[in-house]
């Protein structure tokens, strides 16, 4: 789960990291009031889960409170990479002497949290890694001991020459590491971390990504979820216990298991079609999940054919069949459906489906080919 900048900022502040003053606004009037309190000259920043906000016109400098109001009016409601901006962060402008990057990531290869710093801040760290990797320093942290003071100092000397700043950034890094652990993060970064002309070190922008598996045990973090900023179908799917990702094609896919769901999408493409979605109904056998899945898929007007691909293991094919019969009994399907079932209780499933007027295939390739053909015919 991605946190908004203003949420990440609040977590860093709670960990003791110096961040500039500022607040979040949902209306132009609120933005104006915040700007007034901050002395007029502010930056108005779109709060949306997308990179490249600046380029998209979602970050604007205002010379006074009236202009802050006007900018907030433009940015609020704006669409950036398909996401509508519901909130803006209003912060004072900063005098910047230097910009660096400080981040913690969960590194898959070393199986540890890794601290990553670069004196090339303010730009995408992946770009720095690709073009000037020598400007990045990485340090693996043993999670049982945390980031040790001397390790933080070592990283600090890579960023700054002056000892007071090295000490300041070392403290910030240890606080950032703590915030990362407390949030159950998979990433926490400050970009840029700035120095002002008088030598103060400040976190100007923050990003935290939370490991979804942490949310059950961290209700405070889970409460930060902003469903308004997500695709409504994806929210509905999550609430039904499904994993759904919307794509642009015309073959609606419903599969059990994430790997098989990806392979099914790939096979749709292989046979010349385009998948409308990724959808994993998971390992359980609850017919209600199948009902929810069908509702979500059929709500997409681009879908011209529906493809079920079920390999029964823990999932029982008869449960899926019952779900299909129940769902299609409630709402009549307006697009053709192709069903492939193999594995646990598949014979029973075929009987259930045939009684309801459906037919079922047992071969994955045949089913995908048929679904692509039907979707193509409808288009």
């Amino acid at each position: 789960m991605n946190l908004h900048e203003y949420q990440a900022r609040a977590l860093l502040q709670a960990a003791g990291i110096p961040v500039p003053d500022g607040d979040v606004a949902a209306t132009p009037a609120e933005a104006e009031a915040i700007a007034k309190r901050l002395g007029g000259r502010v930056v108005v920043k779109a709060q949306v889960h997308a990179g490249g906000r600046g380029k998209a016109g979602g970050v604007k400098l205002a010379k006074d409170a009236a202009e802050a109001r006007a900018h907030a009016g433009t940015i609020l409601g704006m669409t950036i990479k398909g996401l509508t901006v519901e909130k803006v962060l209003v912060v004072p402008t900063a005098d910047i002497a230097s910009e660096s990057y400080v981040g913690v990531i969960l590194d898959r290869a070393s199986q540890r949290p890794v601290l990553m710093v670069s004196p090339a801040g303010g730009i995408d760290i992946e770009e720095v890694a690709a073009k000037t990797p020598e400007r990045i320093m990485k340090l693996g942290v043993d999670p049982r001991y945390g980031l040790l003071p001397h390790q933080a100092m070592q990283l600090g000397f890579f960023l700054y020459d002056a000892l007071p700043q090295v000490r300041a950034v070392a403290a910030i890094m240890r606080q950032l590491y703590d915030a990362f652990v407390r949030a159950g993060g998979s990433l926490a970064e400050i970009n840029p971390l700035i120095t002002t002309p008088d030598g103060t070190v400040l976190a100007l922008d923050a990003k935290i990504v939370v490991d979804d598996n942490e949310l059950d045990r961290r209700p405070g973090i889970a409460a930060l979820r902003d469903t308004a900023s997500e695709n409504p179908a994806e929210v509905k799917a999550r609430e039904a216990g499904l994993t759904f990702i919307k794509l642009d094609g015309s073959v609606g896919c419903c599969v059990n298991g994430a790997g098989l769901a990806m392979a099914t999408m790939d096979l749709v493409k292989y046979y010349g079609g385009d998948p409308a979605n990724f959808l994993d109904i998971g390992g359980s056998s609850n017919p209600e999940k199948v009902v929810a899945a069908l509702e979500i898929i059929t709500a997409d007007p681009r879908v011209k054919a529906i493809l079920f691909n079920i390999f029964g293991g823990i999932t029982r094919c008869d449960d899926v069949a019952n779900g299909i019969v129940t769902a299609t009994g409630r709402t009549k399907l307006t697009v053709p459906i192709v069903i492939r079932l193999t594995g646990t209780n598949d014979e029973l499933a075929v009987q259930i489906l045939e009684r309801a007027g459906f037919s079922a295939l047992t071969d994955m390739d045949e089913a995908v080919k048929r679904a692509v053909e039907l979707a193509g015919r409808a288009a």
């Binding site: 049982r144 159950g184 979804d212 390999f311 293991g313």
Partner: protein, 292 residues
């Protein structure tokens, strides 16, 4: 022969009285796995299914039965502690089926196990099966048969699909290992490649990877240098959009890294035959003259 599990494996089920634990324990017993004990705190002294003694703690279970391996079916938030408990009780192989284990937990579990030289398979995995000998986890025994092909995969049902294609064409399996779909896992592709290479009964290896991370790329380099047996590979997620988690916690293209194309190129460069779709597995094995 087989890898990691065989007829001698003496298994404890952690979470034996839970919904998943009890269902799959019955399946494992039916398959012939030596399930020697179960553990559920508070259920010590009971007997599962009329034959498996249940203990309150792993220490008691191992002391009473001489168990060598365990399988974890407990809810995700208790999974890390279940793995520590198995390690402290002297278990040598832990298979963690539980899905949803926090990754930070895994960063602490892994050094603990490494220091004790304990193998973990998973988490978030279907487990392992050595057809005809032993099954630990949830891979359906009915789709497998004994034979020369070693299978290793990050997926669950996609693995079943490939096993099904193999079995239908007459290719049995030496062992099938589901290593799990999480970003941090106990046993990776390289571990399995090394074990299959050393296993005299494995004649060919099928690797099923997916988007996210660099495990497949590193495994490809390893295979080129150390594996003499034919390897056939598949990568799921060729049509996955970047930056989205495709169901598995580890299945995400970050920036431009971890794509299917990058992994398939690494396979080709290492001499691994690349399947464009699951059904290609049989033709590619035949092309490499692997006898069924």
């Amino acid at each position: 022969m087989s890898i990691f599990i065989d007829r001698a494996t003496r298994l404890v089920v952690q979470g034996i009285t839970g919904r998943d634990g009890s269902f799959h324990t019955k399946q494992m017993l039916e398959y012939g796995t030596q399930v020697v004990a179960g553990v559920t705190p508070g259920k010590g002294g009971h007997t599962f299914d009329g034959k498996v003694p249940v203990f309150d703690t792993m220490a008691e279970a191992v002391a009473a039965t001489g168990a060598t391996a365990s399988v974890v079916y407990v809810p995700a938030r208790f999974a890390a502690d279940a793995v520590y408990e198995a390690a402290d009780a002297g278990i040598r192989l832990v298979v963690c089926i539980s899905e949803g284990v926090p990754v930070l937990d895994m960063t602490r579990v892994m050094p603990y196990l490494r220091e004790r030289e304990i193998r973990l398979i998973g988490p978030n995995c279907p487990g392992a099966i050595s057809p005809g000998r032993c099954k630990v986890g949830i891979i359906p025994g009915s789709i497998c048969r004994e034979g020369p092909v070693g299978v290793v995969s990050r997926s669950g049902t996609l693995t079943y699909e490939v096993i099904h294609q193999l079995t239908r064409a007459g290719y049995g399996q030496s062992s099938c290992i589901g290593i799990g779909g999480d970003p941090i896992i106990g046993t990776n592709f390289i571990d399995c490649l090394a074990a299959f290479q050393a296993d005299p009964d494995t004649q060919a290896i099928v690797m099923i990877g997916e988007i996210g991370g660099t495990d497949e790329q590193q495994a490809a380099e390893y295979a080129a240098a150390h594996v003499t047996k034919p390897v056939v590979g598949f990568i799921a997620g060729q049509t996955a959009p970047p930056g989205r988690r495709m169901g598995h916690a580890g299945a995400i293209i970050s920036g431009a890294s971890g794509t299917a194309a990058e992994k398939m190129t690494a396979f080709t460069r290492a001499g691994i035959a690349v399947m464009k779709r699951p059904a290609d597995v049989v033709a590619l094995l035949k092309e490499r003259r692997v006898a069924a």
